[in-house]
């Protein structure tokens, strides 16, 4: 009976929408952590490397977190693609179709595309940074990876920085629709607060996307 209910829920339009929203919000939370960590680059190599080392030292727990994060990401991705393909079939095919300007926005209309940009970005990002060149270093007598160097090297290339900034614009667009949208999906749209949620959503997109992009540009400038 319980499995049946869950099964039903996970197949329904609204159930899946809830799941996209929840996974999306969790990923939003992760990004806040990530961008905050990145700002340690500005403080200096040691601060950044120590922070990275602390995370790595979590050991098994880190793997659990990483597995969870991957799971959340894959579920978000799978559901989004699935819903998108279904929606393509359901929507009317017009000779001429225009938006009113009061509903669909660039952010909402580009969700699948910004999403795909982010997917490609994340794969390359993991390859180039997380699994990128390994340089050892010692901070406070502890042996650790010099992730600072890997990062700064990566951002020495204008091509990489450009790509990174483009991806972060996509991230800003994606999250500034997605953040508020998740509240709406979960039914948390109240006339008293929703306007604030919408502003918060734009602010989120700008701060997080802008934050990442800023650091990449800063790193490039520093290397010049």
């Amino acid at each position: 009976m319980v499995t049946n209910a869950v099964n039903h829920y996970c197949r329904s339009s609204i159930g899946r929408k809830h799941l996209v929203a929840i996974t999306g919000l969790l990923l939003c939370g992760f990004l806040v952590g990530h961008v905050s960590g990145n700002f340690l680059l500005l403080v200096g190599p040691d601060a950044f490397n120590l922070y990275a080392h602390k995370l790595v030292s979590l050991g098994a727990l880190l793997y659990v977190i990483e597995a969870g994060l991957t799971g959340i990401f894959l579920l978000h991705l799978y559901l989004a693609i699935r819903l998108n393909l279904e929606n393509k079939k359901s929507a009317g095919k017009y000779q001429v179709k225009k938006w009113t300007g009061r509903g669909v926005t660039i952010m909402s209309a580009s969700m699948p595309y910004t999403g795909l940009v982010l997917l490609v970005f994340i794969i390359l990002h993991l390859k180039n940074l997380k699994f990128g060149s390994y340089y050892p270093t010692t901070v406070d007598g502890i042996q650790m990876r010099d992730l600072y160097r890997t990062t700064m090297e990566y951002f020495r290339s204008p091509l990489n920085v450009t790509w990174y900034v483009v991806a972060m614009i996509a991230a800003a667009l994606h999250t500034s629709h997605g953040f508020a949208s998740a509240f709406q999906s979960l039914g948390l749209n109240h006339p008293k607060y929703y306007k604030s949620v919408k502003y918060l959503s734009y602010l989120y997109g700008i701060l997080v996307g802008g934050g990442f992009a800023f650091i990449s540009v800063w790193a490039y400038m520093k290397g010049v």
Binding site: S13, A91, V104, N189
Partner: protein, 263 residues
């Protein structure tokens, strides 16, 4: 106000004999269009010309022509009901157009709304969603005094906002996903707000959403284009309330199969 003089308009109108045949946009020219005419009266003038030439007039749905029955549809230049705020096609007046304008007119399209002929479509899927729970099970004769259950004015007003839905389907036709969440959300929300309807709200939310999903409607991705084209200005807050009702119901509503037995 764009125009005060009579106009000549070029129309590109979707003609399709029935659901199984191919359709195409056909060019027409209408002269002497008064700015005081309604959009449908302009089509009447064209149809009159066609009939006099022995051609079949353009089939389109319309009835009350005062913006309340929900029968009229039409995508005018790619926007449902022309895309004017809180306005149905029958209330669009020609003073909004200019002499020489070209207007493209297509039917409401969505996989849940098959075409009947030309601009007329079959919106019976809306009825089917309503049959799944868009009512209060209150048989005639059951009712207590109308003032027996008090309803705060703001709640009654909000329920009325949702209840204003005319079932025209503009939300579905304009949705980039062909989703029926706005008209369904409006009904679920209206009845969830009112104490009379709240009694069976969980079951209603579950049944209506599941029925919606089987009828070819798409999923909601919160574009809010439905809210923008809704001729009654119904807010997506009502979709949110439905999402909430559905979430609650999906995890808590339980009905045990019991044998009632004979007394």
């Amino acid at each position: 106000m764009a125009s005060t003089q009579n106009m000549t308009l070029n129309l590109k109108i979707w003609r399709q004999k029935n659901n199984s045949s191919e359709g195409k946009l056909v060019d027409y020219r209408v002269e002497n269009v008064s700015p005081d005419m309604s959009f449908l009266e302009m089509i009447d003038v064209l149809n009159n010309q066609l009939v006099m030439k022995g051609e079949e007039p353009i089939a389109f749905d319309h009835d009350c022509r005062e913006g309340i029955c929900g029968m009229c549809s039409m995508m005018i230049d790619g926007k449902a009901h022309g895309g004017y705020k809180n306005t149905t096609t029958c209330q669009v007046h020609m003073r909004l157009y200019k002499d020489g304008d070209t207007i493209v007119i297509e039917p409401f399209r969505a996989s849940a709304f098959p075409i009947v002929k030309d601009l007329a479509v079959d919106r019976s899927a809306i009825d089917k969603v309503m049959q799944a729970g868009g009512y209060v099970t209150a048989n005639t004769g059951n009712a207590p005094d109308a003032n027996a259950i008090l309803i705060p004015k703001p709640i009654a007003d909000e329920a009325m906002d949702a209840a204003a839905c005319i079932g025209c389907g503009a939300c579905v036709a304009s949705c980039p996903n062909g989703s029926g969440m706005l008209f369904m959300g409006a009904k679920v929300s209206q009845l969830a707000l009112l104490p009379q309807g709240a009694v069976e709200s969980p079951k209603r939310a579950l049944n209506m959403v599941h029925t919606h999903d089987t009828l070819g409607f798409g999923n909601c991705t919160n574009h809010a284009e439905c809210e923008a084209t809704c001729p009654k200005g119904i807010s997506i807050e009502h979709i949110a309330r439905m999402n909430r009702e559905y979430l609650k119901a999906a995890f808590t509503y339980h009905e045990k199969k019991r044998s009632e037995g004979a007394g």
